[in-house]
Symmetry: C2
Subunit: 307 residues, 2 copies
């Protein structure tokens, strides 16, 4: 008997929904534009519930074993409370798991979005069978999920994995987190876009265009990605020496430029890390792309409990 779950990835731009069968295959999808529902918490929760009901209308409800939701913020996944979403107002200490369960009459699990991307890549993507891996997401935010000793490591207060806020230098630009010289101030979307605008003297240039320029052989564009890769590599050196992972998965929008990043990143890690750690670590691009989050939400539902 096939069982399904609903995987949801609440992002800054879109909310993605997938009806996913046991083996991880997405058999139906929906999408909402986040900003249409971000004005109130209730509006967004209602939209989630409506979309779930539309998504599962063609399967028996008894075959849906639960709903998993990834959200961009601090999530107490153990009790199912959204502590804080930095970019969506009105979300402080919301018992989303309970609210949704009461409405849907089925199990609901919630977690941080990057943890779910990591779960997805670990169980169905680039990280299958690995016991110790780091899944880094390079986008507007820079984050990571940690699989250590064959378990997701969430930290004492569910805030672990903030690789974007590991300083690359002792001094540097102020970061929105209150820190200084954070990795994200070098390779977050905002930092890269600002750098590209200056470099190409085009105020509204998008990173996709810098990629296209590189594809056309533009030397400055290729150089631009190489410089980003140097920072990414430098950030991974500390991570690899500290955690001795077997695998690093690189995902998020910026990883679409992997062609121009991968070699430089790997070279820095292999030359600058300690011998044992360097020999042992493999660096790869994410495999599930934008689907990693909803597939990870499915894994969360299947695993049924969060430690």
């Amino acid at each position: 008997m096939t069982k399904y779950s609903v995987g949801i990835d609440v992002g800054g731009t879109n909310v993605k929904f997938g009806l996913i069968e046991n083996a991880g295959r997405i058999i139906a999808r929906r999408t909402l534009s986040t900003k249409n529902y971000a004005s109130s918490r209730k509006k967004l929760i209602n939209a989630l519930i409506n979309s779930i009901e539309l998504l599962i209308k063609d399967v028996k409800k008894s075959q849906v074993c639960g709903v998993g939701i990834g959200l961009p913020g601090l999530i107490n996944s153990k009790v199912g409370v959204v502590n804080f979403l930095p970019n969506v107002p009105g979300w402080r200490n919301v018992p989303l798991k309970r609210i949704m369960q009461d409405e849907l009459k089925m199990p609901v699990c919630i977690d941080n979005d990057v943890n779910l991307i990591t779960l997805g890549e670990w169980k169905f993507g680039a990280g299958k069978t690995y016991k110790n891996l780091v899944c880094m997401t390079l986008g507007t935010g820079v984050g990571s999920g940690l699989v250590l000793n064959n378990r997701i490591y969430r930290g004492e207060g569910f805030a672990a994995g903030e690789l974007g806020h590991v300083p690359l230098n002792e001094k540097g630009l102020k970061c929105s987190c209150g820190g200084e010289a954070c990795f994200e101030t070098y390779v977050g979307n905002r930092a890269l876009t600002a750098k590209a605008a200056k470099l190409f003297k085009l105020k509204n240039i998008r990173l996709e265009e810098v990629y296209e320029l590189a594809e056309m052989g533009n030397v400055r564009a290729v150089q631009f990605w190489q410089e980003a890769a140097v920072h990414i590599g430098n950030a991974l050196v500390g991570l690899v020496n500290l955690l001795n992972p077997r695998l690093i998965i690189i995902g998020g929008g910026v990883s679409n430029n992997y062609k121009y990043l991968g070699q430089t990143i790997s070279k820095i890690v292999s030359t600058r890390c300690m011998n044992v750690q360097a020999k042992m670590v493999k660096i790869v691009r994410s495999k599930l792309g934008d689907d990693a989050g909803i597939i990870g939400a499915h894994v969360l539902v299947k695993e049924g409990k969060v430690e």
Copy 2:
């Protein structure tokens, strides 16, 4: 019925032995000078065995449940093989557990020395009851042990915890590990001693003397420790944001200057780390001092297995 174990800490200067009863109390001790036995592997192993036999001669052998040994290097604690000791020649892939068990006819466990210091502080020292902590050792080498999700995290190849080789900056001094700008090049004993020699124009000054100068109110000496504390604090920022630990324990010889370090370290962590992580983390000095390693070796024996 009281049970004992033998805890051994093989250091660069001394080998420390303790006969330890179940509750963690050291009831007898021995010490060897490492350099007298470092010339050959066999000599050191024989010295270990002789010292163990002398140490346990006053208790019934049947009451000794095993021997735990911490060594300064890469140790496969699961199979009991010393892969490599960077500062003791002749130790490459030595099946020390098997060799010692064959001689002693009792269980022997081995592990990296910093992991055992961490185990000791976790079970009997400053880290009791904590689930997520980092135990940093500041000495000739700078290292750390990681307790994550209530277990020691050793990494894919038993090389995790190398906090001393997390870069503090993208560019900096070459490190003995082959890397650059590693934390250890700022606050390792060698780096600090060289800096003190320059500052006080005394070629052979020892760090203990810089401490005494600070105690006498010497402004440059106080400043010297404060500058070290800034680097230590900066290194902890990334660690705290990434791992969201509940506790950081600071040990090793340099921590004897905690009086001049603690406040600055805590201030940097609380102002520069992300809010959630900063509020949650406590920074304390180690409690077991030089005994942490042998007490941790006792814990390793008691726990009986290494994952």
